[in-house]
């Protein structure tokens, strides 16, 4: 019964503004087109070290996946890719505004999202939204959505985990809409709903005898 209550949407990896505007927090999305992986290794190289991109973006894809695939390259250059799962995105927010400008990305796919402050500061002005993977992680289901690996860039310099993998996808998902076109966050909405029960669970506990620097006792805080 739970599944029927969530809206399921098929979306291009080069979506139009209208398509993005229509997405609501909590919608379930399946992608078709091409996605590429890029995380800190790529961001540092492009944003900080000003290396030119090795592929044409956003023409090839406007969907940046925070992911290192479970993949290997054979001696003859052929590629095995089994499972793909996202890595936690909050660590990458400092590069994103510049990255949007360079890459023209409209979809950030990852794990756990970012804060609504990040969305309003970096995503909304660049017309982008955040889709979170589910679980985590649904590596086998996402792996089934991979049609083929089109190319892999910078694997010699960055290693397989940090390289850019360009992959063609079909029925690639599920993802959940975490940020909408206005920069609201589904996770923050859920956090607010959990806050009251969480506070009740703390009744009868007390702070540790020996404190630690930088601690918070505000249960609504996130540590990201």
């Amino acid at each position: 019964m739970a599944k029927q209550s969530l809206r399921k949407i098929r979306l291009s990896t080069n979506p139009t503004e209208d398509e993005l505007r229509a997405l609501k927090l909590g919608d379930v999305v399946y992608l078709h087109g091409s996605v590429y992986t890029a995380r800190e290794g790529v961001y540092i190289r492009v944003v900080e070290d000003k290396h030119p991109l090795p592929l044409e973006l956003p023409k090839e894809s406007a969907a940046n996946f925070h992911c290192s695939p479970a993949a290997s390259i054979n001696d003859d250059g052929s590629i095995n890719m089994g499972a793909v799962t996202a890595t936690a995105s909050f660590r990458f927010s400092k590069w994103l505004d510049d990255w949007f400008k360079v890459s023209g990305a409209k979809l950030i796919l990852g794990k756990g999202g970012m804060t609504s402050n990040d969305y309003r500061r970096d995503f909304v002005p660049n017309g982008a939204i955040y889709l979170t993977t589910v679980g985590y992680g649904t590596g086998a289901l996402l792996g089934r959505g991979v049609q083929r690996v089109r190319d892999v860039y910078w694997s010699d310099d960055l290693g397989l985990a940090q390289a850019i993998w360009l992959i063609d996808v079909e029925e690639f998902g599920p993802f959940i809409v975490e940020s909408d076109f206005e920069g609201n966050s589904l996770f923050e909405r859920e956090n607010a709903r959990v806050a009251e029960t969480l506070t009740r669970a703390y009744e009868g506990t007390r702070p540790a005898v020996l404190k630690r620097f930088g601690e918070t006792d505000d249960r609504t805080d996130e540590l990201i």
Partner: protein, 314 residues
């Protein structure tokens, strides 16, 4: 004598089983949680995970793309002998780790912490970790691999006797709240808790409690078993489910292991073994037989012994 060929081929198969097949005890418990979960987003996540396990087994692909950091636990029956000794055994486990990483394939997660150099095979300085245990009698060795994720859900705190059970509850909740939001801990998880020892021993105990005991298993000390149950219920009452969404599926099970500690302290560590609780074990015999299982059976009366001598010795 247990041959190196047998060790290496078995280790290869264990790597595959751990990455692809969700252990039956975890699967059954997750099915139960899914049936009981009421919140729609949490339900969707749990149902999708159950589909994902099926897809992994059907396709023979890893259940999660972050295939964790492979590590090994080797337990020797006291009469066992291994071809090539400890050095031969370690070489075989390192070869199997590299080979399986390429063949399955797994994600080459292991890099140098500073240079970030990646050998693309999950082998490097101190990787994979290999830990050892011994058991009275037996000509067998047990080899277990665990592929645990490595970033979120683990913490350590120096507590004191005056913190008491209330302090344990507090640190438990702090950790769930810190790592449960947005689902960074990939819950519902098997929560392992180490109590006592020293800082390093406490971390080892907690990690083993999470990774080397099965769902439903209880500590033989009734007081500890009671605390395990209490913390499990507490964790499932914070209103949070998978991905930090509203729900009640947070803790699949809670396992506590203790070690004697300094008289002034009560060290506590907490570890979350995730929605891809990857573990697989095999017992190897000198005649070439191999028996696979999902229960590492690590914590035996011998491992938890308190006395100077092993009183049950033959």
């Amino acid at each position: 004598m247990i041959s190196l060929d047998l060790i290496e081929s078995t280790a290869n198969e264990l790597m595959r089983k751990a990455a692809v097949e969700i252990p039956c005890d975890y699967l059954t418990a997750l099915q139960q949680l899914t049936a009981e979960e009421e919140a729609s987003l949490s339900c969707f996540v749990l149902e999708t995970m159950l589909e994902n396990y099926e897809a992994a087994e059907t396709d023979g692909r890893p259940m999660c793309g972050d295939t964790g950091c492979p590590r090994w636990y080797v337990k020797f029956g006291n009469e066992s002998r291994v071809e090539g000794g400890g050095v031969g055994l370690e070489a075989a486990l390192r070869r199997a780790t590299a080979q399986a990483t390429h063949d399955i394939p797994l994600r080459p997660n292991r890099v140098h912490p500073l240079s970030r150099a990646d050998h693309n095979n999950n082998v490097g300085i101190g990787a994979p970790e290999i830990e050892y245990g011994f058991e009275p009698d037996g000509e067998w060795i047990d080899i277990t691999t665990v592929h645990k994720g490595g970033l979120f859900g683990t913490d350590y705190r120096m507590l004191f006797p005056s913190d008491g059970i209330a302090g344990i509850r507090r640190f438990f909740l702090d950790s769930l709240a810190a790592f449960g939001k947005r689902g960074l801990a990939c819950q519902p998880a098997i929560i392992g808790i180490g109590l006592g020892g020293s800082k390093d021993a406490c971390m080892v105990l907690g990690k083993r409690a999470a990774c080397l005991r099965t769902v439903g298993d209880q500590n033989p000390d009734p007081k500890i078993a009671e605390l395990e149950e209490e913390l499990k219920e507490l964790g499932n009452s914070i209103g949070m489910g998978p991905m930090g969404f509203v729900g009640k599926s947070m803790v699949v099970d809670c396992h506590i292991e203790v070690g004697y500690c300094h008289t002034g302290g009560m060290q506590m560590s907490i570890h979350a073994f995730c929605l891809s609780s990857r573990r697989a074990t095999a017992r190897l015999y000198p005649d070439g037989r191999t028996e696979y299982r999902t229960d590492p059976q690590w914590f035996t009366p011998y491992q938890r012994r308190e006395t100077v001598e092993w009183l049950n010795s033959p």
